[in-house]
């Protein structure tokens, strides 16, 4: 009965050419090869139909150790492998360069904007004074009157806007993963609208890394992540083998969605002394390889 009434109503409106206002949802966006930035992980790209949309704000959301940084570095690596340049606004200066290199990022094509690292006791006044003193001539004062975390987030958002306005970047990411949820929720919602407007129509895929979805961009996608660490080895001498990352894709306007499982493995070889294949030596036995002077460093 209700359906019949609705049909009659729609028919009447159509006669008066008023049916165009009756859209219940925005039309789905077309996705082509050129309008997406592949993540570099085949399973995710298949699920997202070629990657993260360009000209949109997308999110990687998840709790600590959920694989957000892993996936972010994969996206940046894929962008630099394609010959694009990428930018990372690192709000709290958390990028591990060895991990970035292990992920395959061409570091010369990555613009790294380092925010202020939090000192030993988070939120202490020492950090606040240090940070404020470093803001050259009052250029970047906290506008929201909060603590150092709010101040760092504020500066990171300004830096993100500058990068987006400059254009030319394939992927621009802002890492807010360590920002407290209260701080992020206190940001005006227009913040993300402004970011969306800044990136709209450009070839840039903007990626936001947060502990929980906050931007809710209509055109972008949201990847919520969860993972658990995979251990290997004997009970006496276990070691981290990697992590099983579970992704759920949410996209209001794109006909994509689903769940993906990705296996990330621990770094092997290279810079990290821990993961350089050294045996788990008994405590007290010096690690000779790591303790020797680094001859190549000029000693």
């Amino acid at each position: 009965m209700a359906n019949h009434a609705l049909a009659v109503l729609e028919s009447a409106l159509r006669e008066r050419k008023l049916d165009r206002t009756l859209t219940t949802a925005l039309p789905p966006l077309e996705q082509g090869n050129d309008v997406c930035a592949p993540t570099g992980v085949a399973a995710i790209d298949v699920c997202l139909r070629n990657g993260v949309p360009r000209g949109q704000l997308s999110e990687l959301a998840g709790p600590r150790s959920s694989g957000r940084t892993t996936l972010l570095l994969q996206m940046l690596a894929a962008a630099t492998r394609r010959g694009e340049i990428a930018a990372l606004v690192d709000t709290f200066d958390r990028l591990d360069v060895a991990s970035a290199e292990a992920a395959g990022i061409d570091l010369s094509r990555l613009l790294w904007i380092r925010g202020q690292a939090l000192s030993a006791a988070s939120g202490d006044e020492g950090h606040r004074r240090e940070g404020m003193a470093k803001s050259a001539h009052g250029v970047a004062k906290s506008v929201r009157g909060g603590g150092p975390v709010e101040w760092a987030v504020d500066r990171a958002l300004k830096a993100l806007n500058l990068v987006l306005q400059a254009g030319g970047f394939g992927v621009v990411a802002i890492d807010l993963a360590d920002a407290p949820g209260t701080t992020l929720r206190r940001l005006p919602f227009t913040t993300w609208l402004r970011v969306q407007r800044a990136v709209e129509g450009r070839d840039t895929a903007c990626v936001l890394v947060t502990p929980e979805p906050i931007a809710r961009s209509a055109g972008g996608i949201t990847l919520t992540l969860a993972s658990h660490t995979v251990w290997t080895g004997s009970c006496e001498r276990p070691r981290v083998a990697g992590a099983d990352v579970h992704l759920r894709v949410v996209s209001p306007r794109r006909r994509v969605g689903g769940e993906v499982m990705v296996m990330a493995r621990a770094v092997e070889g290279g810079i990290e002394p821990m993961a350089a294949g050294l045996p788990n030596v008994a405590a007290g036995l010096p690690n000779v390889a790591a303790g020797l002077p680094n001859v190549a460093a000029g000693l």
Partner: protein, 502 residues
């Protein structure tokens, strides 16, 4: 028709060049006292060669310069003659060889050796044949030979010709070129050509050095950057037009601010690529002055650039275009003003075992697309399905640049519980742990610098810190599911959280 001017010692080279430029745009400055100039076409203005020479000499005398003038068919002939004869020397067309024949061979030796040195300041020392304060334009082979910078080949050749009994240029030109080549090779033949007055290279006109500088005296001193931006804009636009006319770009931008305190505030910006866009230059100057403001109000503003040939860009239809150097430099200047010095750029690994060490490099991506990434490994794809191989997925570490102090409970040599005062960082019972991985380094620096003990853990990630470290690392998964990297400073027996595997 080529003329050569040779000025008396102590003459102002700039004034000599100015006189030459009044007569011909095609001049070649051979040295501080010698200039050759192309006089072709001047007959319509002044008359024959002698009239031109007289006019030149009169103009020079009016400016207080004593000059010798020689006009001949070639530059070499004119130069040889002007060095040999005082006053005005005119050689009729086609008479160069005859005019040069009686000149001493030592004159040519001087010219060759000076040309090789890239300088035409003649040697001094023999008795003056000139008049007034003009130095003798040539020396003997022996006096020339004392110059330590003379090319040895020229000296040897001159000595050889002297041993052969050759004294004048005519003696040399009279020899068969084949015989000369057979005995002393091609250099001898080249000497013969010069002795006949032939030029080894065409005259290359010297382009006057242009100054790309604009200045403005202000009626009222200005303070603050906003009014300065208008002044800079007004100065940059004619500068841009000037650079465009010459097809040049700015390699270095100099901003000189004369302050009311009589001090001069000077800033120089090295630009990553030649730039001549007025707005970009103004923005860069303003952003730099924002970080380094003048100490007082500004009386006079001077902007200058070091010019360099403009860039030629070849855009690709295939690859995605990178931002122009102007955009990149403006962005970097803005970001540096916002975030602080040394906080924007490209990360660069350093050759060190220190955990978390890195360096910052300037962000300057190359236009060439990189080759393929690192090795390829497999990964698990959509649930229950294995995807095709792709780039490796490696677990990343989120590193705390200042390691977070933690309280760790240890049982049987292994950590079993971790807690911290840092807000937002979970802690709890350790469910799994791996370690310890021991690393140490820079201990050899401790003695050299008199540093005792290990470096502060809070600074462990800083590459510039070369203090020693000695620590045991552990990977632990706590009860909330997060996996941390802990380390224990062995000397202080203090625990820290180094990062989170994420």
């Amino acid at each position: 028709m080529i003329g050569a001017l040779y000025a008396a010692a102590g003459s102002d080279p700039a004034r000599l060049e100015e006189i030459a430029r009044e007569f011909s745009p095609r001049i070649d400055v051979r040295g501080p006292r010698e200039i050759t100039l192309d006089l072709s076409g001047l007959a319509r203005l002044f008359g024959d060669a002698r009239a031109i020479a007289n006019e030149l000499r009169r103009t020079a005398a009016d400016r207080g310069l004593q000059v010798r003038i020689a006009i001949a068919g070639t530059g070499t002939a004119a130069r040889l003659l002007v060095r040999h004869r005082a006053g005005i020397t005119i050689v009729e067309p086609g008479g160069d060889v005859e005019a040069l024949a009686p000149l001493p061979l030592a004159l040519l030796a001087d010219l060759v050796s000076l040309s090789s040195r890239g300088s035409s300041d003649p040697p001094h020392g023999t008795a003056s044949r000139g008049r007034g304060s003009l130095d003798p334009p040539h020396g003997t082979a022996s006096t020339r030979g004392r110059g330590s910078s003379d090319p040895p080949e020229a000296a040897e050749l001159a000595a050889t010709f002297r041993r052969w009994g050759l004294r004048t240029l005519g003696d040399l030109t009279a020899l068969s070129a084949d015989d000369v080549a057979a005995r002393v090779g091609q250099p001898g033949v080249q000497w013969q050509r010069r002795a006949r007055g032939e030029d080894p290279a065409p005259l290359v006109p010297a382009v006057p050095e242009e100054r790309f500088e604009e200045g403005l005296d202000l009626e009222w001193p200005i303070e603050g950057l906003e009014p300065l931006s208008f002044v800079l804009g007004r100065l940059m636009e004619p500068l841009q037009a000037h650079l465009e006319r010459r097809d040049r770009g700015a390699a270095v931008l100099h901003v000189r601010l004369h302050l009311v305190s009589k001090a001069v505030h000077e800033r120089s910006l090295q630009l990553p690529a030649p730039i001549r866009d007025a707005r970009t230059l103004r923005t860069l100057a303003l952003l730099d002055l924002e970080s380094h403001p003048p100490g007082a109000a500004i009386d006079r503003v001077v902007v200058a650039v070091d010019p360099t040939p403009a860039r030629i860009l070849q855009y690709s239809l295939i690859t995605r275009p990178l931002p122009s150097p102007e955009q990149v430099s403006t962005l970097m200047a803005r970001l540096t003003a916002l975030m602080g010095d040394g906080r924007c750029g490209s990360p660069a690994p350093v050759d060190s075992w220190r955990p978390g060490s890195f360096a910052m490099a300037p962000f300057a991506p190359s236009p060439e697309a990189p080759s393929g990434g690192p090795g390829q490994v497999g990964l698990v794809g959509q649930v229950g399905q294995v995807s095709k191989t792709e780039a490796p997925v490696v677990v990343a570490l989120r590193r705390f640049r200042f390691a977070v102090p933690a309280r760790v409970q240890v049982e049987q040599g292994r950590p079993v519980r971790v807690t911290t005062d840092r807000r937002g960082l979970g802690g709890g019972r350790i469910e799994k742990c791996a370690g310890p991985w021991r690393s140490s380094g820079e201990w050899w620096e401790a003695d050299a610098f008199g540093v005792g003990g290990t470096g502060r853990a809070g600074e462990a990630g800083r590459s510039e810190n070369n203090t020693p470290w000695d620590r045991d690392e552990w990977d632990v998964t706590v009860s909330d599911g997060a996996t941390y990297r802990l380390f224990r400073e062995r000397d202080a027996n203090a625990w820290f959280i180094d990062g989170v595997l994420d």
